[in-house]
């Protein structure tokens, strides 16, 4: 098999088969079987059948070092190896399908609830088990061959193809969203989309062609443009300001473009952006892993309800809470933030000497205590227990309520912009650098005269304040509170937002919130798989790209500089070794210049 060993082909093929089997058993394949992406034939379910052999083929043909030489397979070799791998993946998966059909689908369903005659029909393309097996093997061969060929192609060919296909799939997924937005803008959706389905076939082909073409153009002329942008950004803050203004302008008109359904999702995105920004200070800047961030979120929501006045839900009707102030929202939210900063200090103080994973578990425990307390009958007179509270202020100014999604978006945007500004100034300040030092090495920071106690507490207080504002806004958004909204999943979601974007990166938080909250919010079909995807994202990011999607610039630059220095050093050593021979004379080692 040329450059790919038989054993690694079998291993990759088996992994591919198990991936297909996993997707089928966990329910994704059939659930998205009729989610049409492009035309009627390309459904998400079918894409999920093709992707595992394709990835297996791609992975198995990675360049490897043979006898000290980096061996890159040719395109034909790679396609062949990929096809064999894909064939194994398809055959094993097909055999599993045949086995299920032979064994009795209904008995398997007693264990795996997703295995149904419908699933079998779907994966065999409704042509019976024998024909289905052949089809699966063919899909495997083709997918694997494409994967292998892609790997062996130069990035100039590979990137446009992958990018074009991804964009087409993404646009196909957004079939409920984009047509609505297009209508809002007086565009005719049927140019791109079927009436109820994904992209039309011409539109799909067009999208792939345009994306690929744009990518090719960008790679050709890109370096020059990029260089210009980069130098100008470094030399003139004007360029950066311009980018910022464009982003803000888009953010400002977004709800007008997309209508109230998407604005509702955007409101949730904004709330989690605030949570992400707050958590980013604690985890990203100061390096303190807080798994109980929901505590601040819950505190913010309930405290706002209490300081601005709300009603308790009880089984017998409404009741006044045992404590209530009638503050205005715009005063109340700062009172809440200040209180939350105090809570942050209180939580921070006793756990100061714990580091790393122990701190994480203690904060997890504190978060759980808070969410259990919100449900308890003990605090029921204050926060309403399981029944919760309602009648929370809508933050109205002169009759303009902020409850409707499009209005809430602006309220939340204002706080997000403020939090971004605060985070940005903090990271550039002496405090930010102290956090940086503390995160990298606490003992060294301590030795350098940085009071780690002070800065840790400051991080907890700042993170707590921002998180509680997120909670307060959440309360305004939905107008009623129940403990179900304040579970540990909030902490994990906020963490996933920070991790996906990149620890310590403000644009990262924005992107993370848009991807992790926005996409599942828009694609209602994914709702039941949201947590599965979050879990997968956390693992995948940590294993494959720990710096995140939009890494912190300063840290990347530091890493990069280090690499450059190391490379220079290694190069120096190599040159030295090439030029000089080591000769041992008696007990001493002498270096002699080699003859040219």
């Amino acid at each position: 098999m040329g450059p790919v060993g038989l054993r690694s082909a079998i291993a990759a093929g088996l992994v591919g088969a198990f991936a297909s089997l996993y997707l089928a058993l966990v329910g994704l394949t059939e659930r998205f079987g009729d989610l049409e992406l492009i035309g009627e034939q390309v459904t998400l379910g079918r894409v999920l059948l093709v992707v595992p052999p394709l990835v297996a083929g791609y992975v198995v043909t990675r360049p490897r070092v043979v006898a000290g030489e980096r061996r890159i397979p040719t395109r034909v070799e790679a396609a062949f190896a990929g096809a064999s791998t894909g064939a194994i993946a398809g055959a094993v998966f097909g055999a599993a399908v045949a086995f299920a059909e032979w064994f009795d689908v209904n008995r398997i369903r007693e264990v795996f609830i997703t295995v149904s005659p419908g699933l079998i029909e779907f994966v065999t393309f409704e042509r019976g088990v024998a024909a289905g097996f052949v089809i699966l093997v063919v899909i495997g061969v083709l997918g694997g061959a494409v994967g292998g060929a892609l790997r062996a192609s130069s990035p100039l060919v590979r990137t446009p193809i992958v990018l074009g296909a991804s964009v087409a799939i993404l646009l196909g997924l957004l079939q409920r969203i984009i047509p609505v937005a297009m209508r809002q803008l007086d565009l005719e959706p049927s140019v791109l989309y079927e009436v109820s389905g994904g992209l039309t076939i011409p539109a799909g082909v067009g999208v792939i062609a345009v994306t690929a073409g744009a990518n090719v153009l960008w790679t050709r002329s890109g370096p020059r443009v990029r260089d210009r942008i980069r130098t100008s950004a470094r030399e003139q803050p004007v360029a950066r300001t311009a980018v910022l203004i464009v982003v803000l302008a888009v953010a400002a008109i977004l709800p007008l473009l997309v209508g109230s359904v998407i604005s509702e999702v955007l409101g949730t995105v904004m709330v989690f952006m605030l949570l992400g920004l707050g958590l980013n200070i604690v985890v990203g800047y100061a390096g303190l892993l807080d798994l109980g961030y929901v505590a601040f979120f819950a505190f913010g929501a309930y405290a706002l309800a209490l300081v601005t006045g709300a009603t308790l839900n009880t089984t017998t009707g409404a009741a006044e809470p045992a404590f209530a102030l009638g503050l205005n929202f715009y005063i109340g939210v700062w009172v809440v933030a200040a209180l939350a900063a105090g809570v942050g200090l209180l939580i921070g103080a006793p756990v100061l000497r714990l580091r790393g994973d122990y701190l994480a578990i203690v904060t997890l425990g504190l978060g759980e205590i808070v969410s259990i307390l919100t449900q308890s009958r003990w605090l029921q007179p204050f926060v309403g227990g399981l029944q919760g509270m309602r009648g929370i202020t809508d933050g109205a100014i002169g009759g303009l309520s902020f409850r409707p999604p499009q209005n809430f978006y602006y309220l939340a945007l204002a706080f997000v912009v403020l939090a971004v500004f605060v985070s940005w100034r903090l990271s550039a300040s002496r405090i930010g650098r102290a956090w940086n030092a503390m995160r990298e090495d606490e003992q060294v920071a301590d030795a350098m005269g940085i009071s780690t106690t002070k800065y840790k507490l400051l991080a907890f207080a700042m993170g707590g304040a921002i998180g509680s504002i997120g909670g307060a806004l959440f309360a305004v958004k939905i107008g009623s509170l129940t403990p179900a909204s304040f579970q540990i999943l909030v902490s994990i979601t906020a963490l996933a937002v920070v991790i996906l974007g990149g620890l310590g990166s403000i644009p990262g938080v924005v992107v993370g919130a848009l991807v992790l909250i926005g996409l599942p919010g828009l694609l209602r079909e994914f709702e039941e798989y949201r947590l599965l995807i979050y879990g997968g994202v956390l693992v995948a990011i940590m294993v494959l790209r720990p710096q995140g999607l939009v890494p912190n610039v300063r840290r990347t630059r530091e890493l990069h500089e280090e690499e450059v220095e190391q490379d220079a050093w290694a190069k120096g050593v190599a040159e030295h070794e090439e030029a000089y021979a080591t000769v041992v004379v008696g007990d001493t080692v002498v270096e002699e210049k080699r003859p040219e």
């Binding site: 000497r353 122990y358 203690v362 994990i492």
Partner: protein, 364 residues
């Protein structure tokens, strides 16, 4: 250097005890006194009011011990992995859950065919083997896919991965087996109760305690006597030196995960039979409680996990009724899990080394 900074607090305290009292120590002492007073007053008032009968207290304790035995079995998995890799395998609760689920399918099939009651001992053995094999398999897969690529990465990285893996496994089980809980029937042999010391004790609790005790003894012997056990101890001591001495460190790590999985599988069967149901979320609470138990006993120590598990079980069962009832807090049992976390937080603040630990604060 300031008075009490970060992880060096204890060293500072030791050096500076005579010259000055660090403010942190003062706060901690005040906090400790307040907590002890709260407990004492609550307990006194509960007892003075005679809120529960003597039988009720005995039931609480037996319940706590049985629950604690299960925690101990899961805690061993945390402790073994922590001892060797210095990482918290946050997804261990899910390893436990998968074992319970796997045995459920056999149990329900055996229950339907009557095999469960005709040959209860054989059936139970099969259930245990199935659960142990599944849990060990999941644990080893987890190590291979999620943790091995990250060995040597900064410490927060594997922890975040573990949280992700936990969420992923939980929702995988939800996708595979469905979201609704499934009833788990125990054999007739284990239904009902025995009379021990003049009181009725549910048979299942006795079996749970005995099984857990056997497992802990077997594990202790394994670690103390066998060659693999010796390599495990060597790697826990210093993995680099161990590898120089010819110990296959990778092999030892995989074995450790597998053993943790085996014990979690046993715990899964016992837990499922005690509560007579399984669901995809069942790993979370016992997982956290077991971690608490491991820390309470002194993480890294096998005896510590056992002692920590039993103590936590009893604390959980007794605590809310003994302390909170005295303050007339409604439905004290609602706060049982909050109590677990409170114990965890307090142990980590006051005695991070745990009951059997050295009391050293440094757990970095």
């Amino acid at each position: 250097m300031s008075t009490a900074t970060g992880g060096d607090a204890t060293r500072d305290v030791r050096m500076g005890r005579l010259e000055r009292l660090p403010w942190r120590t003062i706060i901690l002492v005040v906090l400790a006194v307040l907590i002890l007073a709260t407990i004492a007053i609550g307990a006194y008032r509960t007892l003075a009011e005679d809120a529960y009968s003597g039988d009720a207290w005995r039931d609480f304790i037996v319940l706590g011990l049985a629950q604690g035995a299960i925690y101990a079995l899961i805690a061993l998995g945390y402790t073994l992995v922590y001892g060797i890799l210095r990482m918290i395998n946050f997804a261990h609760g899910e390893v436990f859950m998968f074992g319970a689920f796997a045995s459920y399918f056999f149990a329900s099939a055996y229950s339907a065919s009557g095999f469960l009651d005709r040959q209860p001992l054989l059936a139970l053995t099969i259930l245990l083997v199935v659960a142990m094999a599944t849990s060990a398999g999941v644990a080893m897969l987890l190590e291979r896919v999620a943790y091995r690529p990250l060995r040597g990465a900064p410490r927060l990285v594997p922890l975040i991965t573990a949280i992700g893996a936990s969420l992923f496994l939980q929702n995988t089980a939800r996708g595979f087996f469905g979201a609704s809980p499934r009833g788990y029937r125990k054999p007739e042999l284990l239904q009902g109760s025995w009379t021990i010391f003049g009181g009725d004790v549910a048979k299942i609790r006795v079996v749970v305690l005995l099984t857990a005790a056997l497992a802990v003894i077997a594990l202790s012997l394994f670690v103390a006597r066998t060659k693999t056990g010796r390599s495990m101890r060597a790697v826990a001591e210093d993995s680099e030196i161990a590898s120089l001495m010819g110990v296959n460190v990778n092999g030892v790590i995989v074995t450790t995960f597998a053993i943790g999985g085996l014990l979690a599988g046993i715990a899964g069967v016992l837990y499922a039979m005690t509560f007579e149901q399984v669901n995809f979320f069942m790993g979370f609470q016992p997982g956290i409680a077991a971690f608490t138990a491991a820390v309470l006993g002194g993480i890294g120590s096998i005896a510590g996990a056992a002692i920590g598990g039993l103590s936590l079980g009893v604390l959980q069962a007794l605590g809310p009724s003994l302390i909170l009832t005295g303050y007339h807090i409604p439905s004290p049992f609602q706060l049982r899990e909050a109590f677990t976390f409170l114990v965890l937080v307090l142990v980590l603040i006051f005695r991070p080394g745990g009951i059997l630990g050295t009391g050293e604060a440094e757990k970095v």
